[in-house]
Symmetry: C2
Subunit: 282 residues, 2 copies
Amino acid sequence: MSFNNLLYLVAVLFVLSACQQTPNQENSDYHSTASATPQINKNDKLTFKEYDIKTVGFLVYDGVNSLDVFGPHYVLGQLMGVERKFIALEPGNIKTVMGIEIVPNTTIDDVDSLDILVIPGGFRGTIEAAYDAKVHQWIRDIDKTTTYTASVCTGGWILASTGLLEGKKATTNWYDAENMLSKYGATFVDERYTNDGKYWTAAGVTAGMDMSLALLAEIAGEDYAQGVMLDMEYDPQPPFAGGSPEKTRPAVFEYMNGMYKAGVDAIIEEMEAGEADREALD
Amino acid sequence: MSFNNLLYLVAVLFVLSACQQTPNQENSDYHSTASATPQINKNDKLTFKEYDIKTVGFLVYDGVNSLDVFGPHYVLGQLMGVERKFIALEPGNIKTVMGIEIVPNTTIDDVDSLDILVIPGGFRGTIEAAYDAKVHQWIRDIDKTTTYTASVCTGGWILASTGLLEGKKATTNWYDAENMLSKYGATFVDERYTNDGKYWTAAGVTAGMDMSLALLAEIAGEDYAQGVMLDMEYDPQPPFAGGSPEKTRPAVFEYMNGMYKAGVDAIIEEMEAGEADREALD
């Protein structure tokens, strides 16, 4: 369930509560529409941080990983009053790596500032973007306007490729992580998510949700983030261990790692050959 | 990162491995393209269950919760050889509850069988579907053809409203969960996910991922599911406790519960009034 519109209401209540009004008074919209009487200890005040985030943009492209983008979109998109944008590299619909067609809101040519930029990962399209000078320039330009610049999974390869993570600690998808960041001058930290100043980076796919909840708490306070966490019933209970190289059975890990290597290395070689060709032409 | 196409390859390897071939032999596609030599104990065989799942369909509608659908889609969609379909109630694009426009693959009028049906939740559109006789009939018809019929979050309200969960145990989003299932004759169990025969049901939003991984393990074996789990780096580490009524600060829970109550009850009343009107006309 999601109650995006209703979150405006709860945000009002957070503010009211922070203003030291008692939660059981009768003059809030909540109590005028809900019949249940909350059993809240009067000392158990909700807190709400004021913030100045008005736009959150998600870079999307053919082959983007749907969960890389919809996880953070669901969390950060619930900041009240925020405008959410799926921003494509060019006009037209995009297809996720799993083949679902999505209608972006706009393109990079029409966006020149954002309060939060989120760069999700994927597969071929991600590597292509990491070698695309126009994408680099757009990210660097937008970054000058952001309060936070974030990446999820292999989106960290794109972000790092712009040079913005140089000398900074960051994380990314587990595959060849140290190398994929150090080649751009960033320092890999083996964390689920991390931040170095305004640069927030998450490990693979679902780590984007953990990062986004932490960022949401930084922006609007932990009560607000816990409200969103309850809305998405995020009390994860995976059916068995796994999800990181260390927790995965060695035989499974080796096969997955080999499969990634086969897929990724070929595309990187292709991109670097193209880059060398362009340099030779210059 | 997602390697849907490459998963065909790993599946082949799982089968080879299950056939007792040693993982370091030279005749697999994997070893011909990857240069790393997996360090696998020869006794550490990968296992792979054969299955007969060819189609997975996700019911989508205006107001569907994006994570309810993209979580299970990402997990179950990685079954090799499976056809994935976003199935809308009528022709045209749909918008998720967070406002992202998606192009469905087909409509309920054009789908008459599925191996797996997944019914995600949402807000207004979900409640409307739970009072829509055409939707009920389609789900009951499809269910006659499925190996598994599943719901996520308030999608459980839709599934239960068809009568298919009568006398069965099930779970759903935390809000008013016991009542929302018992009104349709199902027995609420307070679990992250559960199954009663072929009916798999998940608690709110992100519980759909846990359910889907468990279902994937049942279908293709735990090694396969652990491979997908590593692909999505699903080793969750929420930044703070929360995500269930019990783990949420009481003040936050009460506000969220009240907000849901305000939103949901009004729509249910509207739907039931409409149903009463239709009965009066009959």
